[in-house]
Symmetry: C2
Subunit: 311 residues, 2 copies
């Protein structure tokens, strides 16, 4: 088989953002203000700093008004809840995103507690239970950005979902479960696999569309994929040991050369050998990642328009 | 193979109700009142009349205080929403159930609108989006009664779910989707099939546990079932043409004799031939139906306890 077509997340994200920019401008012209996105960043997790800067930059480029609330790692839960209450009440705030992970000192349940406290109409991450429920019910809602981005990628690449067997690897609240609901809503037959699944390969080999969101570098190997399947790689991990990069990509590969230059490489859940079997494959980096940010911007505009339509 | 073990919903429902009765009495002793279930019945659909009478009787037997609000088919949406608001505010009302279907004159979206209007803490059907979302997130909630009953039946019959492949036929908001979420939460690998699924038999034959909720009499035939599978029949239909009963059960069968006595028989989604292939099978009637009512009572007590714990 010829190697898999590359599902280009960078180009698709650029297309979405190119559509958003005039729509954001039209919103601003109509309502006299830009849609406002507020990002709450607690502590100094280096990954989160990078993610938030990416969201801030992309939002500004699209014409959103992005405000980042940078808070010390010692911020109390009460202070965070109070900030959320203030943003809920702020008429110029259309979207609120609390960057995950929050400091461990806030406790394991606090992340959900803060999402529960958001006005569902401003919940641009789609993690409030009301929005999760509306998504499951197939109703208009703010849906989680990463699975929304996967759907956009598949639809814009002309990949048929109706009647096809989609297998989702991973059952997180952020990706796996909402992904399954969105694929089901688009008439795919959906299987959700996870760490307790037995004979995983027998199931993944049935997938017409395989979405990998397990968070284990190179976990999906060629023997797990049906020839001609469409594979979407949602995983993202940084490899910083040369031997791991060599094991995954082979000595002499471009990715090992990358590693030798930079000291680390970013990889997904899908082993590069899958490109020889799949008909289409989203790369990491350059696949789902850029779409997650594009969908955050789209959700912010959608939230702003919905709120103004109600007012 | 020996014929399938019968998964006895009547006995399981009786066991659940036997556990509920002293728990309801303990609630009443502690709080000086019985848990209050309010059922809203609009119009004179004969099926709904029977269902509501069943719920009323079972509730009273368990010691609940059941109030049925019988309203004319001409009742306006505004009047219904006003009744719901009044019940939401009533401190002696712990659970609210709006019997489906509502009169068509209220419009197709009204049923969801009325469920949206319920206090989620009193939503004993589990159809409010916040409760749907909490269920998807694997959090404590009021879950829909029918899939909850299926889980109770499987668990109390000692059927292992973890790691096994469960296939759900049907993707309704009332059964299929919440069923899938509950099976996933119990570590099954879950596939959801529906009317657009291609090569359905190839998928259902992989099921260790097959839950049929399609609403088509006798739809699941023996050739669709893996030998030794556990099959749960959620369908319920009334056959009132003799030829249909003969086609499904065969001339000379007990069910045809039933038909000849009564003029109709109640059947499920599962063809009787499945009993020769499955290791266990829930009958219709006498399977999931009684459990749905038992779980409604359980949800009412749970809602009452949760509300009083918060007060």
């Amino acid at each position: 088989m010829p190697p898999a077509r590359r599902l280009d997340g960078i180009a698709t994200a650029a297309a979405i953002r190119a559509e958003l920019t005039p729509a954001v401008a039209a919103f601003a012209a109509r309502w006299g203000r830009s849609p406002g996105l507020h990002i709450v960043l607690v502590g100094d997790d280096p990954g989160s700093q990078i993610y938030v800067r990416g969201k801030e930059k992309a939002g500004a480029e699209a014409g959103l008004r992005v405000t980042v609330h940078r808070l010390a790692a010692t911020t109390t839960g009460a202070a965070l809840l109070s900030l959320v209450a203030q943003l809920n009440a702020d008429p110029a705030c259309d979207g609120i995103l609390v960057q995950s992970p929050l400091p461990a000192s806030l406790g394991p349940a606090f992340e959900q507690q803060i999402n529960d406290a958001l006005d569902p109409l401003k919940d641009v991450d789609g993690f409030h239970p009301t929005n999760v429920g509306r998504l499951a019910q197939g109703r208009p809602t703010l849906a989680p950005c990463t699975p929304s981005g996967v759907i956009e990628l598949l639809v814009r690449e002309g990949i048929l979902l109706r009647g096809r067997h989609a297998v989702v690897l991973g059952r997180s609240d952020i990706v796996g479960k909402p992904m399954a609901m969105m694929l089901l809503e688009r008439d795919a037959t959906v299987t959700i696999c996870h760490s307790k699944t037995q004979d995983l390969k027998a199931i993944t080999r049935q997938a017409d569309i395989l979405v990998a969101a397990v968070g284990r570098a190179g976990f999906v190997t060629a023997d797990m994929v049906k020839p001609g399947a469409v594979v979407v790689d949602v995983g993202i991990a940084r490899l910083d040991r040369r031997e791991d990069v060599v094991r995954m990509f082979g000595e002499g590969s471009a990715r090992v050369a990358d590693f030798d230059r930079r000291g680390s490489v970013v990889v997904g859940d899908v082993h590069p050998g899958v490109a020889e079997v799949a008909s289409a494959l989203s790369p990491v980096p350059g696949g789902v990642g850029p779409l997650t940010i594009a969908m955050l911007l789209a959700n912010t505009l959608k939230a702003a328009e919905a709120r103004m339509a109600r007012s």
